[in-house]
Protein backbone atom coordinates (compact mmCIF):
# COMPACT_ATOMS: atom_id res chain seq x y z
CA UNK A 1 0.00 0.00 0.00
CA UNK A 2 2.40 2.66 1.18
CA UNK A 3 6.02 3.10 0.18
CA UNK A 4 7.45 1.41 3.28
CA UNK A 5 7.68 -2.39 3.45
CA UNK A 6 4.62 -3.93 5.06
CA UNK A 7 4.88 -5.04 8.70
CA UNK A 8 2.58 -7.99 8.17
CA UNK A 9 1.79 -9.79 4.96
CA UNK A 10 -0.80 -12.53 4.89
CA UNK A 11 -1.19 -14.52 1.70
CA UNK A 12 -3.80 -17.16 1.01
CA UNK A 13 -4.33 -17.94 4.69
CA UNK A 14 -6.33 -21.12 5.24
CA UNK A 15 -7.26 -22.63 8.59
CA UNK A 16 -9.27 -25.79 9.11
CA UNK A 17 -10.38 -27.13 12.46
CA UNK A 18 -11.65 -30.62 13.16
CA UNK A 19 -15.45 -30.60 13.11
CA UNK A 20 -17.88 -31.73 15.77
CA UNK A 21 -18.16 -35.17 14.23
CA UNK A 22 -15.27 -37.35 13.13
CA UNK A 23 -14.17 -36.62 9.60
CA UNK A 24 -15.87 -33.24 9.50
CA UNK A 25 -13.80 -30.16 8.84
CA UNK A 26 -14.67 -26.61 9.84
CA UNK A 27 -13.41 -24.26 7.16
CA UNK A 28 -12.74 -21.29 9.43
CA UNK A 29 -10.53 -19.27 7.08
CA UNK A 30 -10.50 -19.89 3.36
CA UNK A 31 -7.82 -17.98 1.51
CA UNK A 32 -7.43 -14.56 3.10
CA UNK A 33 -4.75 -12.14 1.94
CA UNK A 34 -3.91 -8.69 3.24
CA UNK A 35 -1.01 -6.54 4.32
CA UNK A 36 -0.51 -4.06 7.15
CA UNK A 37 2.01 -1.28 7.43
CA UNK A 38 3.48 0.18 10.59
CA UNK A 39 1.19 2.55 12.45
CA UNK A 40 -1.88 1.40 10.58
CA UNK A 41 -5.17 0.16 12.03
CA UNK A 42 -6.88 -2.49 9.96
CA UNK A 43 -10.41 -3.47 10.91
CA UNK A 44 -11.71 -7.01 10.46
CA UNK A 45 -15.51 -6.99 10.33
CA UNK A 46 -17.80 -9.96 10.16
CA UNK A 47 -20.50 -11.94 11.88
CA UNK A 48 -20.06 -15.18 13.77
CA UNK A 49 -18.29 -17.78 11.65
CA UNK A 50 -16.56 -15.18 9.53
CA UNK A 51 -13.15 -16.35 10.75
CA UNK A 52 -12.08 -12.93 12.02
CA UNK A 53 -10.78 -14.16 15.38
CA UNK A 54 -9.02 -17.09 13.75
CA UNK A 55 -7.17 -14.72 11.45
CA UNK A 56 -6.10 -12.60 14.42
CA UNK A 57 -4.86 -15.64 16.33
CA UNK A 58 -2.97 -16.93 13.30
CA UNK A 59 -1.22 -13.60 12.81
CA UNK A 60 0.09 -13.56 16.39
CA UNK A 61 1.01 -17.22 16.17
CA UNK A 62 -1.43 -18.66 18.65
CA UNK A 63 -2.49 -21.14 16.02
CA UNK A 64 -0.58 -22.53 13.06
CA UNK A 65 -2.33 -22.06 9.73
CA UNK A 66 -3.31 -25.06 7.61
CA UNK A 67 -1.77 -23.36 4.59
CA UNK A 68 -0.83 -19.91 3.37
CA UNK A 69 1.96 -17.55 4.17
CA UNK A 70 2.39 -15.09 7.02
CA UNK A 71 5.36 -12.72 7.00
CA UNK A 72 5.88 -10.65 10.12
CA UNK A 73 8.55 -7.97 10.36
CA UNK A 74 10.47 -9.41 7.42
CA UNK A 75 10.41 -12.96 8.75
CA UNK A 76 8.37 -15.84 7.35
CA UNK A 77 6.51 -17.17 10.35
CA UNK A 78 3.97 -19.33 8.50
CA UNK A 79 5.16 -22.58 10.01
CA UNK A 80 6.39 -21.27 13.37
CA UNK A 81 4.66 -23.09 16.22
CA UNK A 82 3.12 -21.13 19.11
CA UNK A 83 5.99 -22.15 21.42
CA UNK A 84 8.68 -21.48 18.81
CA UNK A 85 7.25 -18.00 18.32
CA UNK A 86 8.34 -16.97 21.81
CA UNK A 87 11.22 -14.76 20.63
CA UNK A 88 8.74 -12.84 18.45
CA UNK A 89 6.26 -12.14 21.21
CA UNK A 90 7.84 -8.92 22.39
CA UNK A 91 7.02 -7.55 18.94
CA UNK A 92 3.49 -8.95 18.54
CA UNK A 93 0.77 -8.90 21.16
CA UNK A 94 -2.94 -9.56 21.47
CA UNK A 95 -5.77 -8.19 23.60
CA UNK A 96 -8.78 -10.43 24.07
CA UNK A 97 -12.49 -9.73 24.32
CA UNK A 98 -13.06 -10.82 27.89
CA UNK A 99 -10.71 -9.05 30.28
CA UNK A 100 -12.11 -11.02 33.23
CA UNK A 101 -11.00 -14.29 31.66
CA UNK A 102 -7.76 -13.13 30.10
CA UNK A 103 -5.95 -12.39 33.35
CA UNK A 104 -4.66 -15.06 35.71
CA UNK A 105 -6.90 -14.62 38.76
CA UNK A 106 -4.09 -15.59 41.14
CA UNK A 107 -1.65 -12.88 40.07
CA UNK A 108 -1.57 -9.23 41.12
CA UNK A 109 -2.00 -6.54 38.52
CA UNK A 110 1.61 -5.47 38.99
CA UNK A 111 2.88 -9.00 38.41
CA UNK A 112 0.61 -9.44 35.42
CA UNK A 113 2.12 -6.39 33.74
CA UNK A 114 5.63 -7.16 34.99
CA UNK A 115 5.45 -10.69 33.61
CA UNK A 116 6.01 -9.40 30.10
CA UNK A 117 9.14 -7.54 31.19
CA UNK A 118 10.37 -10.58 33.08
CA UNK A 119 9.98 -12.74 29.99
CA UNK A 120 11.42 -10.38 27.42
CA UNK A 121 13.84 -8.00 29.09
CA UNK A 122 16.94 -8.25 31.24
CA UNK A 123 15.59 -5.71 33.74
CA UNK A 124 16.06 -6.59 37.40
CA UNK A 125 13.25 -6.54 39.94
CA UNK A 126 13.53 -2.85 40.82
CA UNK A 127 13.89 -1.68 37.24
CA UNK A 128 10.84 -3.75 36.34
CA UNK A 129 8.80 -2.19 39.13
CA UNK A 130 9.70 1.26 37.86
CA UNK A 131 8.79 0.35 34.30
CA UNK A 132 5.50 -1.26 35.41
CA UNK A 133 4.53 2.04 37.04
CA UNK A 134 5.36 3.89 33.84
CA UNK A 135 3.24 1.52 31.79
CA UNK A 136 0.36 1.73 34.27
CA UNK A 137 0.55 5.48 33.97
CA UNK A 138 0.53 5.23 30.20
CA UNK A 139 -2.73 3.25 30.23
CA UNK A 140 -4.12 5.59 32.92
CA UNK A 141 -4.28 2.93 35.60
CA UNK A 142 -3.70 4.28 39.08
CA UNK A 143 -0.59 2.88 40.78
CA UNK A 144 -2.51 1.73 43.85
CA UNK A 145 -4.22 -0.92 41.72
CA UNK A 146 -0.91 -2.67 41.04
CA UNK A 147 -1.10 -4.65 44.25
CA UNK A 148 -4.70 -5.73 43.68
CA UNK A 149 -5.99 -8.94 42.18
CA UNK A 150 -8.10 -8.99 39.01
CA UNK A 151 -11.39 -9.69 40.81
CA UNK A 152 -11.03 -6.39 42.68
CA UNK A 153 -11.06 -4.33 39.47
CA UNK A 154 -13.86 -3.21 37.15
CA UNK A 155 -14.15 -4.43 33.57
CA UNK A 156 -12.73 -1.21 32.17
CA UNK A 157 -9.76 -1.29 34.53
CA UNK A 158 -9.11 -4.94 33.65
CA UNK A 159 -9.07 -4.17 29.96
CA UNK A 160 -6.53 -1.43 30.71
CA UNK A 161 -4.40 -4.05 32.44
CA UNK A 162 -4.62 -6.24 29.34
CA UNK A 163 -3.61 -3.31 27.17
CA UNK A 164 -0.77 -2.51 29.57
CA UNK A 165 0.48 -6.08 29.15
CA UNK A 166 0.19 -5.76 25.39
CA UNK A 167 2.27 -2.57 25.19
CA UNK A 168 4.80 -3.46 27.91
CA UNK A 169 7.46 -4.61 25.45
CA UNK A 170 6.72 -1.83 22.93
CA UNK A 171 5.46 -4.20 20.23
CA UNK A 172 5.09 -3.37 16.57
CA UNK A 173 1.73 -5.08 16.21
CA UNK A 174 -1.24 -5.52 18.53
CA UNK A 175 -4.20 -7.66 17.58
CA UNK A 176 -7.32 -6.43 19.34
CA UNK A 177 -9.96 -9.14 19.37
CA UNK A 178 -13.27 -7.45 20.21
CA UNK A 179 -11.54 -5.40 22.91
CA UNK A 180 -14.61 -3.35 23.82
CA UNK A 181 -17.45 -5.79 23.22
CA UNK A 182 -17.79 -6.91 26.82
CA UNK A 183 -17.54 -3.39 28.22
CA UNK A 184 -20.22 -0.87 29.02
CA UNK A 185 -20.75 1.96 26.59
CA UNK A 186 -19.21 4.75 28.63
CA UNK A 187 -16.17 2.60 29.47
CA UNK A 188 -15.75 1.64 25.83
CA UNK A 189 -15.09 5.20 24.78
CA UNK A 190 -12.23 5.50 27.26
CA UNK A 191 -10.58 2.33 25.94
CA UNK A 192 -10.92 3.45 22.33
CA UNK A 193 -9.42 6.81 23.18
CA UNK A 194 -6.53 5.10 24.96
CA UNK A 195 -5.86 2.91 21.93
CA UNK A 196 -5.86 5.93 19.64
CA UNK A 197 -3.40 7.76 21.89
CA UNK A 198 -1.13 4.72 22.16
CA UNK A 199 -1.00 4.39 18.41
CA UNK A 200 -0.25 8.09 18.00
CA UNK A 201 2.55 7.92 20.59
CA UNK A 202 4.15 4.60 19.66
CA UNK A 203 3.23 4.02 16.02
CA UNK A 204 2.07 0.48 16.76
CA UNK A 205 0.06 -1.25 14.06
CA UNK A 206 -3.33 -2.56 15.14
CA UNK A 207 -5.50 -5.32 13.78
CA UNK A 208 -8.90 -4.44 15.17
CA UNK A 209 -11.42 -7.28 15.16
CA UNK A 210 -15.04 -6.48 15.89
CA UNK A 211 -18.61 -7.15 14.94
CA UNK A 212 -19.53 -3.62 15.98
CA UNK A 213 -19.55 -1.62 12.79
CA UNK A 214 -19.61 1.80 14.45
CA UNK A 215 -16.53 1.04 16.52
CA UNK A 216 -14.58 -0.41 13.62
CA UNK A 217 -15.42 2.58 11.50
CA UNK A 218 -14.23 4.92 14.23
CA UNK A 219 -10.84 3.32 14.80
CA UNK A 220 -9.81 1.77 11.48
CA UNK A 221 -7.94 3.24 8.56
CA UNK A 222 -8.72 0.28 6.37
CA UNK A 223 -11.39 -2.39 6.61
CA UNK A 224 -11.75 -5.99 5.52
CA UNK A 225 -15.28 -7.35 5.44
CA UNK A 226 -15.30 -11.10 6.00
CA UNK A 227 -17.94 -13.69 5.26
CA UNK A 228 -17.41 -17.40 5.92
CA UNK A 229 -13.66 -17.01 6.14
CA UNK A 230 -13.26 -15.02 2.94
CA UNK A 231 -12.70 -11.34 2.29
CA UNK A 232 -15.66 -10.01 0.33
CA UNK A 233 -14.74 -6.34 0.44
CA UNK A 234 -11.68 -4.36 1.34
CA UNK A 235 -10.85 -0.70 1.28
CA UNK A 236 -10.36 2.52 3.21
CA UNK A 237 -12.78 2.78 6.09
CA UNK A 238 -14.72 5.79 4.84
CA UNK A 239 -15.14 4.29 1.36
CA UNK A 240 -16.43 0.94 2.57
CA UNK A 241 -18.91 2.55 4.93
CA UNK A 242 -20.14 5.24 2.59
CA UNK A 243 -20.14 3.25 -0.62
CA UNK A 244 -20.53 -0.41 0.28
CA UNK A 245 -20.38 -2.44 -2.92
CA UNK A 246 -20.59 -6.11 -2.05
CA UNK A 247 -24.21 -7.14 -1.46
CA UNK A 248 -23.22 -8.59 1.90
CA UNK A 249 -21.59 -5.35 3.00
CA UNK A 250 -24.65 -3.48 1.84
CA UNK A 251 -27.02 -5.62 3.85
CA UNK A 252 -24.71 -5.74 6.87
CA UNK A 253 -24.51 -1.97 7.00
CA UNK A 254 -28.24 -1.60 6.49
CA UNK A 255 -29.02 -4.07 9.28
CA UNK A 256 -26.94 -2.10 11.70
CA UNK A 257 -28.75 0.27 14.05
CA UNK A 258 -27.02 3.59 14.62
CA UNK A 259 -27.80 5.07 18.05
CA UNK A 260 -29.65 7.99 16.55
CA UNK A 261 -33.42 7.94 16.00
CA UNK A 262 -33.20 10.48 13.22
CA UNK A 263 -30.99 8.39 11.02
CA UNK A 264 -33.22 6.62 8.53
CA UNK A 265 -31.88 3.52 6.97
CA UNK A 266 -32.58 1.82 3.71
CA UNK A 267 -33.07 -1.73 4.92
CA UNK A 268 -32.03 -4.78 2.99
CA UNK A 269 -33.10 -7.36 5.51
CA UNK A 270 -31.41 -10.62 4.73
CA UNK A 271 -33.24 -13.86 5.05
CA UNK A 272 -31.68 -16.80 6.83
CA UNK A 273 -28.47 -17.00 8.79
CA UNK A 274 -24.78 -17.56 8.12
CA UNK A 275 -24.47 -21.15 6.88
CA UNK A 276 -22.28 -23.73 8.56
CA UNK A 277 -18.58 -23.61 7.81
CA UNK A 278 -18.54 -27.40 7.66
CA UNK A 279 -19.96 -27.46 4.16
CA UNK A 280 -19.00 -24.28 2.38
CA UNK A 281 -21.19 -23.08 -0.46
CA UNK A 282 -19.44 -23.58 -3.76
CA UNK A 283 -18.58 -20.36 -5.55
CA UNK A 284 -19.32 -17.12 -3.76
CA UNK A 285 -19.87 -17.80 -0.05
CA UNK A 286 -22.69 -15.29 0.07
CA UNK A 287 -24.56 -16.59 -2.98
CA UNK A 288 -27.16 -18.67 -1.04
CA UNK A 289 -28.39 -15.57 0.84
CA UNK A 290 -27.71 -12.96 -1.81
CA UNK A 291 -30.85 -11.24 -3.14
CA UNK A 292 -29.14 -10.58 -6.49
CA UNK A 293 -27.24 -13.82 -6.98
CA UNK A 294 -26.90 -15.13 -10.51
CA UNK A 295 -26.37 -18.74 -11.61
CA UNK A 296 -22.67 -18.05 -12.15
CA UNK A 297 -22.24 -17.02 -8.50
CA UNK A 298 -22.51 -20.54 -7.18
CA UNK A 299 -20.10 -21.94 -9.75
CA UNK A 300 -16.79 -20.23 -9.09
CA UNK A 301 -15.38 -18.03 -6.39
CA UNK A 302 -15.43 -14.46 -7.66
CA UNK A 303 -12.10 -12.71 -8.03
CA UNK A 304 -11.32 -9.37 -6.38
CA UNK A 305 -12.56 -6.58 -8.59
CA UNK A 306 -11.97 -2.84 -8.41
CA UNK A 307 -15.19 -0.89 -8.76
CA UNK A 308 -15.16 2.80 -9.56
CA UNK A 309 -14.99 3.57 -5.84
CA UNK A 310 -11.39 2.36 -5.81
CA UNK A 311 -11.56 -0.39 -3.25
CA UNK A 312 -11.63 -4.13 -3.75
CA UNK A 313 -14.71 -6.29 -3.89
CA UNK A 314 -15.16 -9.99 -4.56
CA UNK A 315 -18.38 -9.89 -6.57
CA UNK A 316 -19.08 -10.69 -10.20
CA UNK A 317 -21.58 -7.86 -10.44
CA UNK A 318 -18.89 -5.24 -9.97
CA UNK A 319 -17.83 -5.48 -13.61
CA UNK A 320 -21.08 -4.15 -15.05
CA UNK A 321 -21.89 -2.02 -12.02
CA UNK A 322 -25.16 -3.83 -11.24
CA UNK A 323 -24.29 -4.50 -7.59
CA UNK A 324 -26.85 -2.21 -5.93
CA UNK A 325 -29.43 -4.17 -4.00
CA UNK A 326 -32.84 -3.60 -5.60
CA UNK A 327 -35.40 -1.28 -4.06
CA UNK A 328 -37.80 -4.13 -3.59
CA UNK A 329 -35.63 -5.33 -0.73
CA UNK A 330 -35.67 -1.94 0.93
CA UNK A 331 -37.78 -1.20 3.94
CA UNK A 332 -37.79 1.63 6.36
CA UNK A 333 -38.30 0.46 9.87
CA UNK A 334 -38.06 3.91 11.32
CA UNK A 335 -41.29 4.83 9.55
CA UNK A 336 -43.50 2.39 11.34
CA UNK A 337 -42.16 3.35 14.74
CA UNK A 338 -42.21 7.07 14.11
CA UNK A 339 -45.75 6.71 12.87
CA UNK A 340 -46.79 5.11 16.12
CA UNK A 341 -44.61 7.46 18.05
CA UNK A 342 -46.42 10.53 16.69
Amino acid sequence: MSSSAPLVTVEGLVKHFPGPRAGQVIHAVNGVSFAMTAGETVGLVGESGSGKSTIGRAVVKLITPTSGKIVFDGQDVSKTSPQAARPLRDRMQIVFQDPYGALNPRMTVGNLIGELLKLHTELDREARAVRVREIADQVRLSAELLTRFPHELSGGQLQRVCIARAIATRPKLIVLDEPTSSLDLSVRAGILELLRDLQRDTGVAMLFISHDLDTVRLVSHRILVLYLGMVVEEGPSAKVFEHPVHPYTQSLLSAHLPPDPDERLARHVLSGEVPSAVRLPSGCPFAPRCPIAMPVCSQARPAMEMPATGHQVACVRVKDGSYRLPDSARRNVGDSVSHARG
Binding site: R89, I94, F96, A102, N104, R106, L116
Partner: protein, 294 residues
Protein backbone atom coordinates in the same frame (compact mmCIF):
# COMPACT_ATOMS: atom_id res chain seq x y z
CA UNK B 1 -31.07 -4.74 58.10
CA UNK B 2 -28.44 -2.04 58.35
CA UNK B 3 -28.51 -2.28 62.13
CA UNK B 4 -27.67 -5.96 61.96
CA UNK B 5 -24.85 -5.27 59.55
CA UNK B 6 -23.24 -2.73 61.84
CA UNK B 7 -23.36 -4.81 64.98
CA UNK B 8 -21.90 -7.75 63.10
CA UNK B 9 -19.22 -5.61 61.57
CA UNK B 10 -17.93 -4.54 64.98
CA UNK B 11 -17.43 -8.13 66.09
CA UNK B 12 -13.79 -9.29 66.15
CA UNK B 13 -12.69 -10.42 62.71
CA UNK B 14 -11.22 -13.79 63.65
CA UNK B 15 -14.30 -14.74 65.66
CA UNK B 16 -16.73 -13.93 62.90
CA UNK B 17 -14.56 -15.66 60.32
CA UNK B 18 -14.55 -18.78 62.45
CA UNK B 19 -18.30 -18.56 62.89
CA UNK B 20 -18.67 -18.14 59.16
CA UNK B 21 -16.64 -21.28 58.49
CA UNK B 22 -18.62 -23.28 61.02
CA UNK B 23 -21.89 -22.08 59.57
CA UNK B 24 -20.86 -22.85 56.02
CA UNK B 25 -19.38 -26.24 56.81
CA UNK B 26 -19.93 -27.83 60.21
CA UNK B 27 -18.36 -30.96 58.71
CA UNK B 28 -15.11 -29.10 58.28
CA UNK B 29 -15.23 -27.79 61.84
CA UNK B 30 -15.74 -31.26 63.33
CA UNK B 31 -13.09 -32.84 61.11
CA UNK B 32 -10.65 -30.10 61.86
CA UNK B 33 -11.20 -30.51 65.61
CA UNK B 34 -10.63 -34.27 65.50
CA UNK B 35 -7.54 -34.13 63.30
CA UNK B 36 -6.23 -31.16 65.25
CA UNK B 37 -6.59 -33.02 68.56
CA UNK B 38 -4.69 -36.03 67.24
CA UNK B 39 -1.99 -33.73 65.86
CA UNK B 40 -1.61 -32.16 69.29
CA UNK B 41 -1.37 -35.64 70.82
CA UNK B 42 1.33 -36.59 68.33
CA UNK B 43 3.39 -33.47 68.98
CA UNK B 44 3.01 -33.48 72.75
CA UNK B 45 3.19 -37.28 73.11
CA UNK B 46 6.30 -37.25 75.35
CA UNK B 47 4.56 -34.80 77.67
CA UNK B 48 1.15 -36.45 77.76
CA UNK B 49 2.04 -40.14 77.76
CA UNK B 50 2.68 -41.46 81.29
CA UNK B 51 5.03 -44.16 79.94
CA UNK B 52 7.45 -44.52 77.05
CA UNK B 53 6.23 -46.06 73.81
CA UNK B 54 8.14 -49.28 74.30
CA UNK B 55 8.61 -49.10 78.01
CA UNK B 56 7.77 -52.64 79.18
CA UNK B 57 6.99 -53.96 82.65
CA UNK B 58 7.13 -57.72 82.20
CA UNK B 59 5.39 -58.33 85.54
CA UNK B 60 2.41 -56.18 84.66
CA UNK B 61 1.24 -57.79 81.40
CA UNK B 62 -2.39 -57.61 80.27
CA UNK B 63 -3.59 -55.45 83.15
CA UNK B 64 -7.15 -54.26 82.59
CA UNK B 65 -7.74 -50.49 82.44
CA UNK B 66 -7.34 -48.80 85.80
CA UNK B 67 -5.94 -45.64 87.32
CA UNK B 68 -2.36 -46.44 86.41
CA UNK B 69 -2.93 -47.95 82.99
CA UNK B 70 -5.84 -45.95 81.59
CA UNK B 71 -6.25 -48.26 78.61
CA UNK B 72 -4.73 -51.26 80.33
CA UNK B 73 -1.44 -52.89 79.41
CA UNK B 74 -0.56 -55.29 76.60
CA UNK B 75 1.07 -58.67 76.38
CA UNK B 76 4.53 -57.19 76.81
CA UNK B 77 3.52 -55.16 79.81
CA UNK B 78 3.52 -51.88 77.86
CA UNK B 79 0.97 -49.14 78.63
CA UNK B 80 -1.69 -49.17 75.87
CA UNK B 81 -2.67 -45.54 76.57
CA UNK B 82 0.88 -44.29 76.02
CA UNK B 83 1.28 -46.44 72.93
CA UNK B 84 -1.97 -45.17 71.43
CA UNK B 85 -0.71 -41.62 71.95
CA UNK B 86 2.67 -42.38 70.38
CA UNK B 87 0.80 -44.15 67.60
CA UNK B 88 -0.53 -40.78 66.50
CA UNK B 89 3.05 -39.85 65.62
CA UNK B 90 3.22 -42.79 63.23
CA UNK B 91 -0.19 -42.04 61.76
CA UNK B 92 0.90 -38.49 60.90
CA UNK B 93 4.48 -39.57 60.18
CA UNK B 94 3.17 -41.77 57.41
CA UNK B 95 0.16 -39.76 56.21
CA UNK B 96 1.93 -36.41 55.85
CA UNK B 97 5.03 -37.47 53.87
CA UNK B 98 2.90 -39.85 51.81
CA UNK B 99 0.55 -37.00 50.93
CA UNK B 100 3.49 -34.79 50.00
CA UNK B 101 4.81 -37.54 47.79
CA UNK B 102 1.40 -38.01 46.13
CA UNK B 103 1.34 -34.31 45.29
CA UNK B 104 4.96 -34.16 44.13
CA UNK B 105 4.43 -37.00 41.69
CA UNK B 106 0.78 -36.65 40.77
CA UNK B 107 0.45 -32.90 40.27
CA UNK B 108 3.22 -32.37 37.68
CA UNK B 109 2.01 -35.46 35.80
CA UNK B 110 -1.53 -34.14 35.74
CA UNK B 111 -0.49 -30.64 34.74
CA UNK B 112 1.62 -31.84 31.87
CA UNK B 113 -0.81 -34.48 30.61
CA UNK B 114 -3.74 -32.09 30.70
CA UNK B 115 -1.90 -29.23 29.05
CA UNK B 116 -0.19 -31.02 26.16
CA UNK B 117 -3.11 -33.37 25.50
CA UNK B 118 -3.12 -35.67 22.52
CA UNK B 119 -1.03 -38.82 22.44
CA UNK B 120 1.21 -37.85 25.37
CA UNK B 121 -1.85 -37.35 27.51
CA UNK B 122 -3.25 -40.67 26.36
CA UNK B 123 -0.03 -42.53 27.24
CA UNK B 124 0.36 -40.88 30.65
CA UNK B 125 -3.28 -41.58 31.36
CA UNK B 126 -2.89 -45.28 30.56
CA UNK B 127 0.18 -45.53 32.81
CA UNK B 128 -1.86 -44.08 35.64
CA UNK B 129 -4.71 -46.48 34.88
CA UNK B 130 -2.35 -49.42 35.09
CA UNK B 131 -1.13 -48.31 38.52
CA UNK B 132 -4.68 -47.81 39.73
CA UNK B 133 -6.08 -51.00 38.24
CA UNK B 134 -4.25 -53.27 40.71
CA UNK B 135 -6.07 -53.67 43.99
CA UNK B 136 -3.95 -51.24 45.95
CA UNK B 137 -3.67 -53.38 49.04
CA UNK B 138 -2.34 -56.31 47.01
CA UNK B 139 0.17 -54.10 45.22
CA UNK B 140 1.27 -52.45 48.44
CA UNK B 141 1.63 -55.82 50.04
CA UNK B 142 3.77 -57.12 47.21
CA UNK B 143 5.99 -54.05 47.04
CA UNK B 144 6.56 -53.82 50.77
CA UNK B 145 7.20 -57.54 50.96
CA UNK B 146 9.79 -57.22 48.22
CA UNK B 147 11.51 -54.04 49.38
CA UNK B 148 11.54 -54.50 53.10
CA UNK B 149 9.38 -53.54 56.02
CA UNK B 150 10.39 -50.03 56.94
CA UNK B 151 8.46 -46.84 57.53
CA UNK B 152 10.19 -45.25 54.53
CA UNK B 153 9.09 -48.03 52.22
CA UNK B 154 5.53 -47.87 53.45
CA UNK B 155 5.49 -44.12 52.79
CA UNK B 156 6.97 -44.56 49.31
CA UNK B 157 4.48 -47.24 48.34
CA UNK B 158 1.47 -45.32 49.61
CA UNK B 159 2.66 -42.12 47.95
CA UNK B 160 3.29 -43.80 44.61
CA UNK B 161 0.05 -45.74 44.60
CA UNK B 162 -2.09 -42.72 45.25
CA UNK B 163 -0.35 -40.21 43.00
CA UNK B 164 -2.48 -41.12 39.93
CA UNK B 165 -5.55 -39.90 41.79
CA UNK B 166 -3.99 -36.48 42.08
CA UNK B 167 -2.72 -36.60 38.53
CA UNK B 168 -6.24 -37.31 37.31
CA UNK B 169 -7.96 -34.62 39.31
CA UNK B 170 -5.37 -31.99 38.35
CA UNK B 171 -5.51 -33.12 34.74
CA UNK B 172 -9.27 -32.73 34.60
CA UNK B 173 -9.02 -29.21 36.00
CA UNK B 174 -6.28 -28.35 33.52
CA UNK B 175 -8.44 -29.66 30.69
CA UNK B 176 -11.14 -27.22 31.70
CA UNK B 177 -8.63 -24.39 32.07
CA UNK B 178 -6.56 -25.11 28.99
CA UNK B 179 -8.85 -23.28 26.62
CA UNK B 180 -9.54 -20.42 29.00
CA UNK B 181 -8.42 -17.00 27.78
CA UNK B 182 -5.79 -16.43 30.46
CA UNK B 183 -3.85 -19.50 29.35
CA UNK B 184 -3.97 -18.31 25.75
CA UNK B 185 -2.90 -14.90 27.03
CA UNK B 186 0.03 -16.54 28.83
CA UNK B 187 1.12 -18.18 25.58
CA UNK B 188 0.73 -14.88 23.76
CA UNK B 189 2.84 -13.19 26.41
CA UNK B 190 5.68 -15.57 25.55
CA UNK B 191 5.66 -17.86 28.57
CA UNK B 192 7.68 -21.06 28.23
CA UNK B 193 5.68 -24.25 28.85
CA UNK B 194 7.04 -24.81 32.34
CA UNK B 195 5.93 -21.34 33.41
CA UNK B 196 2.47 -21.89 31.96
CA UNK B 197 2.23 -25.14 33.91
CA UNK B 198 3.56 -24.03 37.26
CA UNK B 199 2.90 -20.28 37.38
CA UNK B 200 -0.38 -20.03 35.52
CA UNK B 201 -2.12 -23.38 35.63
CA UNK B 202 -1.00 -24.82 38.97
CA UNK B 203 -2.49 -22.17 41.29
CA UNK B 204 -5.78 -22.39 39.44
CA UNK B 205 -5.90 -26.17 39.12
CA UNK B 206 -4.89 -27.23 42.62
CA UNK B 207 -8.21 -26.61 44.34
CA UNK B 208 -9.67 -30.08 43.85
CA UNK B 209 -6.40 -31.72 44.85
CA UNK B 210 -6.23 -29.65 48.03
CA UNK B 211 -9.64 -30.85 49.08
CA UNK B 212 -8.66 -34.41 48.30
CA UNK B 213 -5.48 -34.44 50.37
CA UNK B 214 -7.25 -35.00 53.68
CA UNK B 215 -9.31 -37.86 52.29
CA UNK B 216 -6.25 -39.54 50.85
CA UNK B 217 -4.41 -39.06 54.15
CA UNK B 218 -7.19 -41.02 55.78
CA UNK B 219 -6.58 -43.70 53.22
CA UNK B 220 -2.84 -43.62 53.93
CA UNK B 221 -3.43 -44.12 57.66
CA UNK B 222 -5.80 -46.97 56.93
CA UNK B 223 -3.59 -48.77 54.46
CA UNK B 224 -0.49 -48.46 56.64
CA UNK B 225 -2.49 -49.93 59.52
CA UNK B 226 -3.73 -52.68 57.24
CA UNK B 227 -0.20 -53.51 56.12
CA UNK B 228 0.97 -53.60 59.71
CA UNK B 229 -2.03 -55.74 60.66
CA UNK B 230 -1.26 -58.38 58.08
CA UNK B 231 2.30 -58.22 59.22
CA UNK B 232 4.08 -56.79 56.20
CA UNK B 233 4.15 -53.17 57.31
CA UNK B 234 5.63 -51.64 60.39
CA UNK B 235 6.55 -54.28 62.92
CA UNK B 236 5.85 -54.53 66.62
CA UNK B 237 6.86 -53.34 69.10
CA UNK B 238 6.71 -50.06 67.17
CA UNK B 239 3.55 -48.33 68.48
CA UNK B 240 1.78 -48.30 65.14
CA UNK B 241 -1.98 -48.74 65.56
CA UNK B 242 -2.30 -51.47 62.98
CA UNK B 243 0.52 -53.40 64.54
CA UNK B 244 -1.05 -52.91 67.97
CA UNK B 245 -4.43 -54.15 66.76
CA UNK B 246 -2.73 -57.22 65.38
CA UNK B 247 -1.03 -57.87 68.69
CA UNK B 248 -4.27 -57.30 70.54
CA UNK B 249 -6.36 -59.46 68.22
CA UNK B 250 -5.11 -62.65 69.79
CA UNK B 251 -6.23 -61.53 73.25
CA UNK B 252 -9.78 -60.67 72.32
CA UNK B 253 -10.92 -64.27 72.65
CA UNK B 254 -9.32 -64.57 76.05
CA UNK B 255 -11.12 -61.45 77.21
CA UNK B 256 -8.35 -58.83 77.20
CA UNK B 257 -10.32 -56.65 74.79
CA UNK B 258 -8.53 -53.39 75.59
CA UNK B 259 -5.28 -54.25 73.83
CA UNK B 260 -6.89 -54.11 70.35
CA UNK B 261 -9.92 -51.90 71.02
CA UNK B 262 -8.20 -48.67 71.99
CA UNK B 263 -5.77 -48.46 69.04
CA UNK B 264 -8.74 -49.46 66.87
CA UNK B 265 -10.82 -46.58 68.17
CA UNK B 266 -7.90 -44.18 67.63
CA UNK B 267 -7.59 -45.42 64.07
CA UNK B 268 -11.31 -44.99 63.42
CA UNK B 269 -11.13 -41.53 64.97
CA UNK B 270 -8.26 -40.28 62.82
CA UNK B 271 -9.65 -41.75 59.61
CA UNK B 272 -13.06 -40.26 60.32
CA UNK B 273 -11.47 -36.92 61.18
CA UNK B 274 -9.48 -36.79 57.95
CA UNK B 275 -12.53 -37.76 55.92
CA UNK B 276 -14.73 -35.12 57.53
CA UNK B 277 -11.98 -32.57 57.05
CA UNK B 278 -11.73 -33.47 53.39
CA UNK B 279 -15.48 -33.32 52.80
CA UNK B 280 -15.63 -30.02 54.65
CA UNK B 281 -12.77 -28.61 52.59
CA UNK B 282 -14.61 -29.54 49.44
CA UNK B 283 -17.68 -27.72 50.72
CA UNK B 284 -15.67 -24.65 51.59
CA UNK B 285 -13.64 -24.55 48.40
CA UNK B 286 -16.52 -25.14 46.07
CA UNK B 287 -19.46 -22.86 46.78
CA UNK B 288 -21.46 -24.31 43.91
CA UNK B 289 -21.33 -27.78 45.36
CA UNK B 290 -22.44 -26.38 48.68
CA UNK B 291 -25.54 -24.68 47.34
CA UNK B 292 -26.39 -27.73 45.30
CA UNK B 293 -26.14 -29.89 48.40
CA UNK B 294 -28.53 -27.82 50.46
Amino acid sequence: MTAVATTEATRPRIGSRLLGVIRRSPTFAVGFTIVGSFAVLAILAPLIAPFGAIEAYPFEVLRSPDGKYLFGSDGNGMDVFSRVIYGAQYAFGIAVPAAILMLLIGVPFGLYAGYVGGLTDEILLRIMDVVRSFPSIVLALAVVAATGQSVVNVVLVIGLLDSPIFARIVRSEVLALRSSPFVEAAVAAGNPTWRILFVHLLPNAIRGATALIAVRMAWAVRISATLAFIGVGIQPPTPEWGAMIRQGAEYIISGEWWVATFPGLALVGVVLGFNLLGDGLQDLLDPKRRTAAR
